[in-house]
């Protein structure tokens, strides 16, 4: 898979990390994992409910929840949607001139991760489609339907998989026309569904909403059921992730997509697919992406199932996959955000200016990549350990081995992907 198509845009990819850095990373992962299992706490520490925990911040909440803030954020969302659609449709048809592919794949998709980790689940405050639907529902007669709870987070998981396919595999994916097509179709689908099923649709089923919600669990910002804004330890935030139908599917897609992205950049993959035709490449890649999902889902469920007291508790551990997925995303996309991200601004306001590649060095990038994966692993392992104390039977140390082994494999794979980029 050619690089230029692998992440939709940009012409530069990160160098492979050095072997010594990979070894340090691997060592750190192993040490942290075994320390966690053997030496750490024996009674669960992290809240599984968002209630009664964290520090309320009424001053900040007054500002964030004010109607001025509401109007401003929603206006920004709607303007961004209109601008993206307009420029994608009527602007130049090359991603080296038109900023909209950068806006979609880098500013929105990649940018939403640090934004959510820093500021919490912000997507719902700006989601222009929810705004439009709310407007329509206030004018037209709406049906009595509400969002079926049975659907849970499944539409989000499917939407994330579709976007993953778009970003990694779709032909001409970095073309402004493709961006226009995707944004238009996505908007129509969600406005129609949101009109029929109400705000619950946007809360649970929006692709970017799910993306932001899940990564926001790594932030210190949390909402109690009565919508009180609290600042809390991110470990509690993670543990309080509600386990709904499709929750595990979402984290599977998050991790699987970025794992396949990394795999598609390896020299091995490029050798295998160098000579096959375009259609064969799309087919093979699609199979690869689905295989990534199945491998993640299969290995994780197996590891949890082997150790747990009752059936069907895989979802209870879904929260521990989020930091690992975040580590993968940061490792793969952080330099893209810093470099290609500039194009989103330069192409509009300073066309002809080149991207500044020199403000971050190769060694800083490499260290950040490994650090992100290791930190993601450590947070994941600590979260899984805590949950296992309530869900696993038998000897506490031994029962956690399968799950910890699987998580070590995920992060070793992550480091391996960085080595062979």
């Amino acid at each position: 898979m050619e690089l230029i198509l692998a992440h939709g845009i940009g012409g530069r990819a990160d160098l492979p990390i050095s072997l010594s850095l990979a070894q340090y990373g691997a060592a750190g992962i192993l040490i942290a994992t075994f320390v966690t299992i053997a030496l750490l706490w024996k009674k669960p520490k992290f809240q599984t409910s968002a209630e009664g925990f964290g520090i309320a911040v009424p001053g900040i909440q007054r500002v964030i929840d004010s109607s001025i803030a509401n109007v401003l954020l929603r206006a920004v969302g709607v303007c961004a949607l209109m601008a993206t659609l307009g420029i994608a449709i009527f602007g130049d048809d090359k991603s080296s001139v038109n900023p909209t592919p950068t806006w979609l794949y880098v500013w929105l998709w990649v940018g939403l991760i640090p934004a959510s980790i820093l500021f919490g689940a912000i997507w719902h405050r700006i989601d222009p489609l929810a705004t439009i639907t709310a407007g329509l529902r206030s004018v037209y007669d709406r049906g009595p339907k509400t969002y079926p709870t049975d659907w849970g987070r499944w539409p989000g998981a499917i939407g994330l998989a579709v976007f993953g396919w778009l970003e990694l595999i779709a032909p001409e994916r970095d073309a402004p026309t493709t961006v226009a097509l995707f944004v238009a179709c996505y908007s129509i689908v969600h406005i129609v569904m949101g009109f029929i099923y109400g705000p619950g649709w946007h809360e649970k089923a929006d692709t970017f909403g799910n993306f932001s919600d899940f990564f926001a669990r790594l932030s210190p910002w949390m909402r109690r059921k009565d919508n009180t804004l609290v600042l809390t330890n991110p470990f509690h935030n993670l543990a309080a992730l509600p386990v709904e139908r499709g929750t595990f599917a979402v984290v599977t897609v998050l991790l699987g997509t970025t794992a396949f992205d990394g795999f598609g950049r390896t020299q091995m993959w490029n050798r295998w697919t160098g000579d096959i035709g375009d259609e064969a490449l799309i087919l093979l890649s699609t199979v690869g992406l689905l295989a990534a999902y199945l491998i993640v889902a299969g290995t994780f469920s197996l590891a949890v199932g082997v150790s747990s007291k009752t059936k069907g508790v895989t979802g209870d551990f879904a929260h521990s996959v989020i930091p690992i997925a975040a580590g993968y995303f940061i490792a793969h996309y952080f330099s893209l955000l810093l470099f290609q991200g500039q194009a989103g601004y330069l192409l509009l306001f300073a066309p002809g200016s080149g991207i500044n590649y020199s403000f971050v060095s190769a060694s800083v990038i490499a260290s950040t990549q490994v650090l992100a994966i290791v930190a993601g692993h450590v947070i994941g392992v600590l979260s899984a350990h805590d949950r296992a104390l309530t869900k696993f039977e038998g000897n506490q140390v031994r029962s956690q081995f399968p799950l910890m082994t699987v998580m070590v494999c995920y992060t070793f794979a992550g480091i391996g992907l960085l080595l062979s980029a």
Partner: protein, 132 residues
């Protein structure tokens, strides 16, 4: 709090070992060659990389030559059809006429991995690594 201490300890360990000055371990520093011409370093500091495209086949598609940041690079490319050579990232282009070798020179001042392709036929010529 214990989890925080573990996290900090691991991060500190890693930060302390983070400076990886370039080590030529995982990738090899070879320069790509085409069927007929050998690679030569014509000017002492310029890295010359050659590639050909003929009968729909790129001879160097899996090649990954590596150069040090700051080295002048000369790409010598011959195609049997009219084409456009494109170095991604550096955004350098060179029109190529059928069966005439084109020479594209630039300084490799950005580190990273960059694809070099033939634009019209959308084929990867080689992948250039620029190491610090």
């Amino acid at each position: 709090m214990k989890p925080l201490k573990v996290l900090v300890l691991v991060c500190v360990l890693l930060a302390g070992c983070s400076d990886d000055s370039s080590e030529p371990d995982s990738t090899t520093s070879t320069t790509a060659t085409s069927n007929s011409s050998a690679v030569a370093t014509t000017v002492p500091s310029t890295n010359t990389i050659a590639a050909t495209y003929a009968n729909g086949v790129v001879t160097t598609a899996n090649a990954r030559p590596a150069v040090k940041k700051g080295t002048p690079v000369a790409l010598l490319v011959k195609s049997d059809k009219d084409e456009e050579l494109h170095v991604h990232g550096y955004d350098k282009t060179l029109p190529l006429k059928a069966n005439q070798e084109g020479r594209l020179e630039f300084t490799a001042d950005i580190t990273g991995v960059f694809e070099v392709e033939l634009h019209h036929v959308d084929k990867l010529l080689l992948t250039l690594e620029v190491k610090p």
